[in-house]
Amino acid sequence: MSALTFDHVTIRLGGRDILSAASFEVEEGEFVGMLGANGAGKTTLMRAALGLVPVASGAIAVLGRPATRGNAQIGYMPQNRGAITGLRLTGWDVVASSAIGARFGFVTLDKATRREIDWALEEVGARELARRSIGELSGGERQLVLLSQALIGKPRLIMMDEPLISLDPAHQKSVVDIARRICERLKVAILFSAHELNPLVNAIDRVLYLGGGEAVIGAVEDVVTGPVLSRLYGAEIEVVRVRNRYYVMAGDVDVERDAHRHDDHAHSHA
């Protein structure tokens, strides 16, 4: 059984096919990096697996069961939209709020839940950080605290949506390293989306590349090639490999870097 299966999935949003008859599988315990241009559907794909976006045709299965909302088998880390960056609450309180946040009625934090929160924070190395205000943490520190939320409930698939965005290289490395460690220690499959391949390239088992409604999965050296990416981008793409670093070029422009810059631009206006 695989952790996540897309079987000829078509997703249509606003009259546009985000995915058209895309098929791929993420194996259990596997670390998959998901790449693709802005608007290629990385977030939409995750939301579909969470049962939040309807599929026009095809089927999505999570650990052999159809995708449904509120699936406890999935740990999710949405893209950080900055809503909580101004808060004075401690990281621990934020994590606790999510751990018991789905329950109505008079709910108190029991001992087992407290222990699980501490354990999850320990796993990502954020036990100490979580004592501080979430608003006082740096972007990288905050990502670690928020990542711990994805571990609660012992999921078998964790999906992380652009956790590296607006982090400096040192923090990018620590987030990727911790994701890799979680994958190995907890035997959990991880789907990790990113703008750039290079921070991930040494950590991931396989890469899932999205573009033009297609999804291609495979080893990095098989997928990140001129012919495959040219097809996905619908433009002439050249891949330059220097040691274990990849540069995806369209003409003279570094496509991945360029996508990143655009996104930063959008953020400053948000």
Partner: protein
């Protein structure tokens, strides 16, 4: 001061409204929806003046109108950007309508003043009972949704993914806000609802980093400000609403000082 019947009633009424307002206000501030609370109070003005015009109880008009408007607001406003304009339009439209109702109801000057600036000393025992029932029902309802509300306020996308009915929670919360606004308007008037709903809650979030502790602190501050204002008004013969706003402003100022000294 407590030997007077009207003072005892005023203490109970303002205490109920303050605890509800402080508690609800904490989440209003947390969610960045204080403007919605402000607008709801103006809608309440329309409801109350309309009720007077048609010979109904202003309290019924106040509660009814804010409640419906709160639910409407929850159902509509999804995106923050559009919400500001939508809420603002509703606010001015409501005030305009209220003005029209007042225009038709000729003997309205004192009624209007009471609505706009509150008249806690004019609360009678039947109104007190209504206030008490509404406050208890609202607080129980809030307690029932408190965990999903906190989760959805902090991380709405994650909450949605975990199966929290985010929209329902948002609508239910604004309905509770609406009742709290109506209660508050009885004490400090529709124009000054901010002072009991937002002031103590914002101050509590400056004083404390705790979550549930912060909620209790907000309720406690609101209660202290309401009772303090009432006491000061009794001895000075100045308006209660003035004293409550003065205390609320003072406490907020102190909270700012406390927050920046800690840093």
């Amino acid at each position: 001061m407590l030997e007077y019947d009207f003072m005892r009633t005023a203490f109970v009424a303002s205490g109920l409204a303050a605890v509800l307002a402080g508690t609800v206000g904490f989440f209003l501030v947390l969610r960045g929806q204080t403007f919605a609370g402000h607008a709801l109070s103006h809608v309440g003005f329309t409801g109350a003046t309309g009720a007077i015009l048609f010979g109904l109880s202003p309290l019924a008009g106040l509660v009814g109108f804010t409640f419906v408007a709160g639910i409407g607001m929850g159902l509509f406003g999804e995106k923050l950007a559009t919400r500001d304009v939508a809420v603002g339009m509703m606010l001015s439209l409501a005030l305009g309508l209220g003005l029209l109702f007042l225009h038709f109801y000729t003997a309205a000057a004192t009624q209007a003043a009471a609505l706009l600036f509150g008249n806690v000393l004019g609360v009678d025992s039947s109104a007190l009972l209504t206030l008490a029932v509404l406050a208890v029902v609202s607080l129980v309802a809030l307690a029932m949704i408190i965990r999903p509300l906190i989760f959805a306020s902090l991380e709405s996308e994650l909450a949605e993914a975990r199966g929290v009915p985010v929209r329902f929670v948002s609508v239910a919360f604004l309905a509770i806000v609406a009742v709290a606004v109506a209660e508050c308007a009885q004490i400090v008037g529709v124009l000054l609802v901010f002072t009991l709903m937002v002031g103590p809650a914002a101050a509590a979030q400056n004083f404390s980093r705790a979550l549930i502790g912060g909620v209790l602190l907000a309720a406690g501050l609101a209660l202290a400000e309401a009772w303090g204002g009432l006491t000061l008004a009794f001895y000075t013969d100045w308006p209660t609403s003035f004293w409550i706003t003065a205390l609320s402003g003072l406490v907020y100022l102190m909270s700012l000082v406390a927050r920046f000294q800690v840093r």
